[in-house]
Point group: C2
Chain length 541, copies 2
Amino acid sequence: MAAQINPTIGDLEGNTQKILDALARAQNGGVDIVVFPELSLTGYPPEDLLLDPDFIEAAEGRLKEIAMETKGLFAVVGTPHWNRSGKEKPLFNSAAIFRDGSLIGFHHKQLLPTYDVFDEKRFFEPGESPTVFEHLGRRIAVSICEDFWQHSETVGYTSYAVDPVKQLQEMEVDLVLNLSASPYYYERRQQRTAVFALAAKALQAPLVLCNQVGGNDQLVFDGRSFFLNEKGELIHLAKGFEEDDLIVDLNINACPCTLPENGFSEMYRALVLGVRDYFHKQGFQKALLGLSGGIDSALVACIAKEALGASNLLSIALPSRFSAKESAIDAKVLAQNLGIELKEIAIEPLFQPTLNLLEPHFAGRPWDATEENMQSRIRGQILMALSNKFGALLLNTGNKSEMAMGYMTLYGDMCGGLAVINDVTKTNVYHLAEYINRDHEVIPSAILKRVPSAELKENQTDQDTLPPYEVLDPIIEDAIEKRLSPLAIAEKHALSLAFVEDLVLKMHKAEYKRRQAPIGIRVTQKAFSKGRNVPIVQKWR
Amino acid sequence: MAAQINPTIGDLEGNTQKILDALARAQNGGVDIVVFPELSLTGYPPEDLLLDPDFIEAAEGRLKEIAMETKGLFAVVGTPHWNRSGKEKPLFNSAAIFRDGSLIGFHHKQLLPTYDVFDEKRFFEPGESPTVFEHLGRRIAVSICEDFWQHSETVGYTSYAVDPVKQLQEMEVDLVLNLSASPYYYERRQQRTAVFALAAKALQAPLVLCNQVGGNDQLVFDGRSFFLNEKGELIHLAKGFEEDDLIVDLNINACPCTLPENGFSEMYRALVLGVRDYFHKQGFQKALLGLSGGIDSALVACIAKEALGASNLLSIALPSRFSAKESAIDAKVLAQNLGIELKEIAIEPLFQPTLNLLEPHFAGRPWDATEENMQSRIRGQILMALSNKFGALLLNTGNKSEMAMGYMTLYGDMCGGLAVINDVTKTNVYHLAEYINRDHEVIPSAILKRVPSAELKENQTDQDTLPPYEVLDPIIEDAIEKRLSPLAIAEKHALSLAFVEDLVLKMHKAEYKRRQAPIGIRVTQKAFSKGRNVPIVQKWR
């Protein structure tokens, strides 16, 4: 059984309880072998909590509690474990192996990803060899996540000197267990099964992978633990984006199944889970957001309603002198469709006094982005006041295209505790909206059809400032996610180099804004913030 | 000669020019050997710029240009260099060694710090052995920064399996060069000379260390390159916090010198350099800040004036209905003392309309922190409007004690491009103010004497909410910088455990605010942001 649990970072008591509950279910279900996700005891990634020796001691202490509840089982639990050798880092990223009430040993992760969102060499020392245990006549190999990725040569920015799959080929193995904490991003899942299929085939052994599920800050783990037969064929797949027990009978030759279709339904579920866990793991229930009548805030409202429930969501329309009447109407229809409360607070009673107050200090300078930002910041002020007064967390509604280009206002539309869609380009915002409307119209079609506008001056549209999104978004994906050079991007899309270089320069220059953005939910291969460490003051373009 | 230069991250052209200029000075001065700082070609730390192959190619290309200008010299330049072995990471952190117009080899850094602010294993593969070159009959060892720290066992959270100093003991060495990028923090410098003295003594060879100088985002490098004799005695010391050529005659037995006194003069210079480089390396000249009449903004004004010049600094007093009259007077005297422009803009014309606008939506709930935050955000709005209109960068004036406790307003007093003193506790704010006033009164003594207050409600003081700073600040230092547990802190200071645990819980709970703070300048062993990776949603206390 793969016990696909959703741990909370640092919640040793709660996570231990989830592990004990799963062990009891296994015992009651007549299961022999139970495997949990990587670092299931601490949640993944625990980051600098690992630097606290008390934390490690407390985690190691929980293993005794767990051991006692493994009567009749072979169980494998992910945990940090002291490296007593005195060699380099003081910890291993380990799997604790229990048999029939006793802790019988450990496997230490051999390949430690230190790239993208991963920084395991900050904390851990690599294990020296693969680990095989015998149980009920089977030789069981225990491995942890990255251990099996080198074999397919799909690891990021690294080519490990060691390939544990090759090492295991010398060791005759009947069954392979893998404890994973493999985060979701769009179209990741096919890659994951393909990587492990290669390993199962190489070892000619069936393979059970147990993946963590749940949202932890920016990262969403999709679960979808799986069982592959010795030919590498996918036989069983656990649920995605929720806890699940994947129970497999190793004695039955079941037929291969196929991965259900990927796409925006998954991205939507990842975002919902990311929001839900950000709130509930902190004990928050209530959220609010500004509803502009535009597509971004409409999408965030849909996601938040799904994650938190309509009664926990307050939406605020904040029209200005530049807002189209249709925006307010569309916002109202959307709120009705979702069954969420909508307040309207016009910003003019604060905008004109702000203009008046500053006019003597502006020395006759003309209207510019300053006055646009001012309106955005008045909205931020109002939303944060409501957030503070009612203890509801403000959701940010900015998208990845804006984040890339700096087309947003610090302390204005950048306010919020969680930036729900800041890893979703405008193009994908439309795809997600269409997914939400697949059966019936939730987001009014007028919102989908309207030309995008910040409505911060007369007759403004996004395309006054930005290229059309169908041109811009592929460039953002190539520059940020695929790390292509401006020259490669210009050639790929048959655009002028100067045009692409100008856009990339704008992306660089917005770094200081992004550094102050709320955390977002990662749904692509490269989100802003976690996993992207770019200096603010730098001259390389 | 140690060519202690101040490179800009990613500025290959500008940094190469600095290197060529130093080589010319060396040639004109009859110097034989020139050593530059670690990664002097790219600036340290280049972070994810290193993931761009074009960047590495461009850096390697510059080496040819440099080689041509090394006629008659032995010169050592820090640069990233391809690891062509295909083993793990594709780069080395290298020193390129030139002799008389030719590139004759490389040393690859053996020990790669991956802890605190360092993440070198994200990018680099360790070198396999120490490197010794012969020049003019001398056997010269080339080493890079961390290579020599293991020998003194003072590295962070790591105990390297290899000690390059021990390896060099087998190799007979006449002179040791070390390329460093060793960041400043309070009382770091004594540690650095002590560490390298051990190495010089062990090798019985004189040692020249060339350290980078300058501010790069959060990090300030203090320079202070030095020359130790074969007994480990300090013979020559380069300037701190500015570029310098440290020229040493190896044939003269000079007398040992002592390190000039450490303390708040150094912290002050670090902050000034951090501000100056943040601005000038980006091409910015002008700054503005809010001047409350309190000690924090007074200190930031002094630092910014020193860094940028009085004519580039605009200060704004933003009194409210709760501001003491004395605050405005003190702000005026301070601005006069510094010779900086001061505007006064009362916030009442925006505060009352904001209260009025929201009153119907607040459902009769009483005055609370919401209304305090509101005033802080009005100030943010005004300061950002002036920043946008005049293209002046807003300086944030929050201190580390506030940052630790979350005693600050998101999008209010947390606004700004650079948080000048957010690694300086309130206690150290006073120490720095006293240092500034050491010869004559720059900061009015009334500001130093007044009880700290946010002035956001009637008769408010910081100590309504926080313990006295003389109690709080040592706890912050122990919890954040020294990573002591609440129990250890309670015992150390003879405080109740519950009291300390409550403070530590508040520190944890402010993590979401700090994540949206502007970057600050690191002056202690552990600042918030860079080098401190703590999840927002987590349950370990």
